[in-house]
């Protein structure tokens, strides 16, 4: 059983609790152990990097050092946490002076980071470490006929880490196919959900959310799948405000990829946190999860 240090991040404590629940349920079903990092702290989000870079690196480094102490790689389900910790690790690796300075600060908490633990996004663990074949083999309720818009957002892909293709990724579509659902192709799958602008520039943010949702709906998506709590909240919880602002009539459920994978693995919706959303998920998935047992029997 492969084991990782799990860094839930602040959003998964409450706002995105369904992501937390479904991450733990699905990984357990796939034979992976997520061991929550003890006493983890906030990664600094974007706000810390707006004020002081060195301090932001230090916050991230504390989490990295704790994962290293456990001799485990760190897994983050949030794209923002992932990006911050991934690049902090890169900077520390390439700048010995910076690493020394930060390690001095870390020693106040009896920690040290040598750079051995690496940083993974939860979806990478599904796609690369478990793999599509292993997932397919465990699917007992393929989500036949469910049209899913895979929403990548930004920080899983960008900034570029090496020379990988950030313009035409396919892994999210392939994951959706692996659980028997139908990935929908739409133009804005890599565009920004507006991130923290939902707070700092409401007008711009609502317009970006609107464009994205309309684009997915025009491609006849029944549901949108995300891999980041901020993307989920912006796309789902602000739909009502978008409708009010622009006179639109949007009502499209937005779930975490782990919730869809969980359904396909036969995990009951409730244990995946389905029911805590503001745009009801059940009407969109009812056919896909209910018709299936009848077909296979």
């Amino acid at each position: 059983m492969k084991k990782y240090a799990y860094f839930p991040g602040c959003s998964l404590e409450k706002m995105a609790h369904s992501y937390h629940m479904s991450a733990l349920e699905t990984t357990r079903a796939l034979g992976i152990e997520l061991k929550e990092l003890e006493d983890w702290n906030c990664c600094g989000a974007t706000a810390y990097f707006h004020v002081d870079e060195l301090l932001a690196f230090t916050l991230c480094a504390r989490n990295l050092a704790m994962a290293e102490k456990e001799k485990l790689d760190l897994v983050a389900p949030c794209s923002g946490c992932y990006k911050n910790m991934y690049f902090t690790r890169e900077h520390l690796k390439h700048d010995a002076g910076l690493a020394e300075h930060i390690n001095e600060a870390l020693s106040e908490d009896n920690l040290h980071y040598a750079g051995t633990s690496s940083v993974r996004h939860l979806i990478e663990v599904f796609v690369q470490d478990v793999g599509f074949d292993a997932i397919k083999a465990k699917v007992i309720k393929p989500l036949k006929g469910l049209r899913v818009a895979p929403y990548y957002g930004c920080q899983i892909l960008r900034p570029r880490k090496a020379k990988e293709d950030v313009e035409q990724p396919r892994f999210f579509e392939d994951l959706i196919s692996a659980i028997g659902a139908e990935p929908v192709d739409y133009l804005l799958r890599l565009s920004c959900c507006s991130g923290a602008l939902i707070i700092t520039n409401r007008r711009a943010a609502l317009s970006m959310v609107r464009n994205l949702l309309e684009c997915a709906v025009r491609s006849k998506a029944a549901i949108i799948a995300t891999a980041c709590p901020l993307c989920q909240v912006n796309l789902e919880c602000y739909q009502k405000q978008v409708n009010r602002e622009f006179g639109t009539d949007l009502n499209v459920p937005v779930v975490y990829f782990t919730q869809l994978v969980g359904l396909a693995l036969g995990i009951p919706p409730k244990r995946l946190g389905i029911g805590s959303e503001l745009v009801a998920v059940m009407p969109a998935i009812a056919d896909a999860i209910e018709s299936e047992p009848a077909l296979t029997k």
Binding site: K14, A47, L54, E108, R158, T200, A204, M208
Partner: protein
């Protein structure tokens, strides 16, 4: 040719009281940037076209224009611009820049520059939000949404405030809003660690 034009412009327009030219000050801010210096920009406008905020018409100066203004030494205009505070950090400009300039990191650098000098545009939520967030993490080690709400709610008009309150109520009813702030266990160590980086003086 590009380089000579640039040096001459910087030399004539930079205010004499500045010890170093503005473009150099900005260069020094970009620790995390792995990209090429902004002096290599060819002003093609790919950044502005690919930016979902600029192309939506929400920025007073596009990213391309901000780079041109920095290189020409228009410090005041740059610092008072909303461009970098309206950057959502999507990094689309960074990955698409044909000259390999890390434009999103430049935006971060400009945010920090204006936070330190408190010289940002009036009426922006971003700077207050970021400062509140940082103080919150320094106190508890974790984020807590309800504290953050106070930084922007009162800048809203009444209709927006009501909409925001409705969204918060729906989330509360679904058990998605925390009622109490979380805090880490080894908070004292954590605070000492922070003071190592930024000498904050008095203990809280």
């Amino acid at each position: 040719m590009n380089a000579t034009a640039e040096t001459s412009v910087t030399a004539t327009t930079a205010p004499p009281e500045d010890r170093i030219p503005f473009v150099e000050e900005i260069k020094n801010l970009l620790y995390a940037s792995k990209g090429n210096p902004i002096s290599t920009c060819i002003q093609c406008g790919t950044c502005s076209a690919t930016c979902p905020v600029a192309s939506g018409g929400f920025m007073d100066n596009s990213p391309r224009r901000i780079i041109a203004l920095i290189r020409s030494g228009f410090k005041e205009q740059v610092l008072k611009s909303n461009t970098f505070w309206y950057c959502a950090s999507c990094y689309q400009c960074t990955v698409r820049c044909p000259r390999g300039i890390d434009i999103a990191e430049l935006m971060y650098g400009l945010k920090r520059f204006t936070v330190w000098r408190t010289e940002h545009q009036e009426g922006l939520i971003g700077p207050t939000f970021s400062e509140t967030f940082v103080k919150m993490i320094m106190r508890t080690g974790r984020s807590y949404e309800p504290v953050l709400a106070t930084t922007y709610l009162f800048t809203y008009g009444l209709p927006e405030m009501i909409l925001e309150a409705q969204t918060a109520t729906s989330l509360m009813l679904k058990g998605r809003l925390p009622l109490l702030p979380a805090r880490i266990k080894r908070l004292e160590n954590f605070k000492r660690m922070i003071r190592h980086i930024i000498p904050l003086g008095d203990k809280e």
